[in-house]
C-alpha cells in the first residue's frame, strides 16, 4: 500500500459518511419540492443524528449496541475499500455484512415489530444482492479487473455495454435508500412501514450510529452505480445524481409493494435482465 492509497482511504473514511448525509439532505429537500413543500434545511439529517446522539434511553437488548457498531465499522470499511481502489466484489460483501448486522440487531430486540422488520430486511437483502453482484460482475467483465481503478479506467462509459443493468441498479438504489415501492422493512422517514420495522428497537445513540452507517451505505451504492459512466469525476457525480433523482421520482409516484411481490416479480425480472446482459458480454 503506497501513501496515495492511504490518503485516499482516509479521505473515504471521513468524506463518505458526510457525502451520504448530504445526499439524505438533498433527498429530503427534493422530495419536499416535488410535493410543492418547502422542506427542511439541507443539513437536517445532521441535526437529526446530533439529536439522536444526545438522547438518553435504555437499550432494547444487550446486544444491539454491539451489532450497531459492527454495522457501522463494516459500512465505513466498504467505503474505505472503494476509496482505496480495492476489489469491488469484496467491498460489496463487506457492505452486505453491515446489512446482516442491522438485521441481527433487530432480531435481538424485544419488540415484535423489530423482528418483523428484520425478516423483511432479509428478504430485501435476498432480492437485491444477486442483482447487485451480477451488475458488479458485468462491470468487471467489461473493464477486465475487479478493482475500482480498472472500473474507472475505461475510455468509453461502461453503460454502453450494459444498458440492461440499469433497471437492476435502480432497484438496488431504491431498496438501499429505503424508498417506495421497496421500503418494505422500514421506510425512509415519514412513511413508516409497520412503525419503522427493522429500526423499531434502535434508539438514541445506537440509532444515530446506525444512521451514519446508512449514509455510508448510500455512498457505496451510488458510487458503484456511478461506475456506469466513469469517464471523469464530474460524470460520475452526475450519474450518481441521476440515479438518486430517478429513485426520488419513483418514490413519489409509486405505492409500496409487498415483499412477496418484490421477491417473486421484481427481483427475478431485474436479475434476468442483468444475467442476459452478462451473457451477452460473454458472446461478444
Amino acid at each position: 500500500m503506497n501513501l496515495t492509497t492511504f490518503y485516499l482511504a482516509v479521505a473515504g473514511l471521513i468524506l463518505a459518511p458526510l457525502v451520504g448525509g448530504l445526499v439524505a439532505g438533498v433527498d429530503r429537500v427534493l422530495t419536499a419540492r416535488m410535493q410543492s413543500r418547502m422542506g427542511p434545511p439541507l443539513l437536517q439529517p445532521f441535526y437529526d443524528v446530533g439529536k439522536l446522539w444526545s438522547k438518553v434511553i435504555a437499550p432494547a437488548s444487550h446486544w444491539q449496541g454491539l451489532f450497531v457498531r459492527w454495522a457501522l465499522v463494516a459500512s465505513l470499511a466498504s467505503d474505505v475499500l472503494l476509496a482505496a481502489g480495492a476489489d469491488v466484489l469484496m467491498c460489496f460483501f463487506v457492505q452486505a455484512a453491515s446489512a446482516s448486522f442491522v438485521a441481527l440487531g433487530a432480531f435481538c430486540g424485544s419488540s415484535p415489530y423489530s423482528k418483523l422488520g428484520a425478516q423483511r430486511e432479509l428478504f430485501q437483502l435476498l432480492a437485491y444482492e444477486p442483482v447487485f453482484l451480477v451488475a458488479i460482475l458485468c462491470m468487471a467483465k467489461v473493464s477486465g479487473g475487479f478493482d475500482a481503478y480498472s472500473f474507472m479506467a475505461s475510455d468509453q462509459p461502461l453503460l454502453y455495454k450494459m444498458p440492461l443493468i440499469v433497471p437492476g441498479l435502480l432497484f438496488v438504489v431504491l431498496v438501499k435508500l429505503r424508498k417506495s415501492p421497496f421500503d418494505i422493512s422500514g421506510s425512509h422517514h415519514m412513511h413508516q412501514e409497520v412503525v419503522r420495522g427493522v429500526y423499531t428497537d434502535y434508539a438514541g445513540r445506537d440509532f444515530a450510529l446506525l444512521e451514519i452507517a446508512h449514509w455510508a451505505d448510500v455512498t457505496v451504492v451510488l458510487w458503484i452505480c456511478s461506475f456506469l459512466w466513469a469517464t471523469s469525476p464530474l460524470a460520475m457525480v452526475v450519474t450518481a445524481f441521476l440515479f438518486l433523482f430517478a429513485a426520488l421520482v419513483i418514490d413519489n409516484i409509486s405505492a409500496r409493494l409487498t415483499w412477496r411481490h418484490m421477491l417473486k416479480v421484481v427481483a427475478p425480472i431485474s436479475l434476468v435482465l442483468a444475467t442476459a446482459n452478462l451473457l451477452w458480454l460473454y458472446m461478444e
Binding site: 429530503r28 419536499a32 410535493q35 410543492s36 413543500r37 418547502m38 422542506g39 427542511p40 434545511p41 437536517q44 445532521f46 441535526y47 437529526d48 443524528v49 446530533g50 439529536k51 446522539w53 444526545s54 438522547k55 438518553v56 434511553i57 432494547a60 415489530y113 422517514h189 415519514m190 413508516q192 412503525v195 419503522r196 429500526y199 423499531t200 428497537d201 434502535y202 434508539a203 438514541g204 440509532f207
Partner: protein, 144 residues
C-alpha cells in the same frame, strides 16, 4: 450553543397518540403535515414509535383503560421529551370531563408542557405549540 444542543431543537420528531378523541383534533394534527402547513420546515417528522419520538402530541380525554397505555408510551420515549395536549378534551377533559369513565385531561396521567386549546385545535395553533415547547426545551438546555 453547541451543535448537539442546537440539533435537539432543530429536529423534533413527533408522535401522535389519540387518547380517545372524536378525531377532530387528529385530522387537524395530520393537516400540519400537508403541503399547506409543511411542518417538515422545522425538521418535524411524524413517527410511529415512542423510542424514536421527542414530542408526544396527545388528543382526547383519558380514561382508566388508555391511561396505562399513555403512561407506557410516555415512559418508552427517550429523554429529554415534550408533551403537548391538543384540544379541549386533551387539556381538561372538555365536555366529557364529568363522564363516569373519564379521568380528565392528559395532565392527570403524565406531565404536560404545552396546552393547545380549541375544539378542534387549529393546525397553526398546534405548530405554534411545538415551537413554544421547543423554546422551553431550549431554555432548559441553555441553563444546563
Amino acid at each position: 450553543m453547541s451543535f448537539l444542543k442546537t440539533s435537539q431543537i432543530k429536529s423534533p420528531w413527533l408522535m401522535h397518540f389519540d387518547c380517545g378523541s372524536c378525531n377532530g383534533c387528529d385530522i387537524e394534527t395530520l393537516a400540519c403535515l400537508t403541503p399547506v402547513y409543511d411542518v417538515e420546515r422545522f425538521g418535524i417528522i411524524n413517527v410511529g414509535n415512542p423510542r424514536h419520538a421527542d414530542v408526544l402530541v396527545v388528543t382526547g380525554t383519558v380514561n382508566p383503560r388508555n391511561a396505562e397505555i399513555l403512561k407506557n408510551i410516555y415512559s418508552q420515549m427517550p429523554d429529554p421529551k415534550l408533551v403537548i395536549a391538543v384540544g379541549a378534551c386533551g387539556c381538561s377533559g372538555g365536555v366529557f370531563r364529568d363522564a363516569p369513565n373519564v379521568l380528565g385531561g392528559i395532565d392527570k396521567v403524565i406531565p404536560v408542557d404545552v396546552y393547545v386549546p380549541g375544539c378542534p385545535a387549529k393546525p397553526e395553533a398546534i405548530m405554534d405549540a411545538v415551537v413554544t415547547g421547543l423554546g422551553k426545551l431550549k431554555g432548559i438546555l441553555e441553563a444546563s
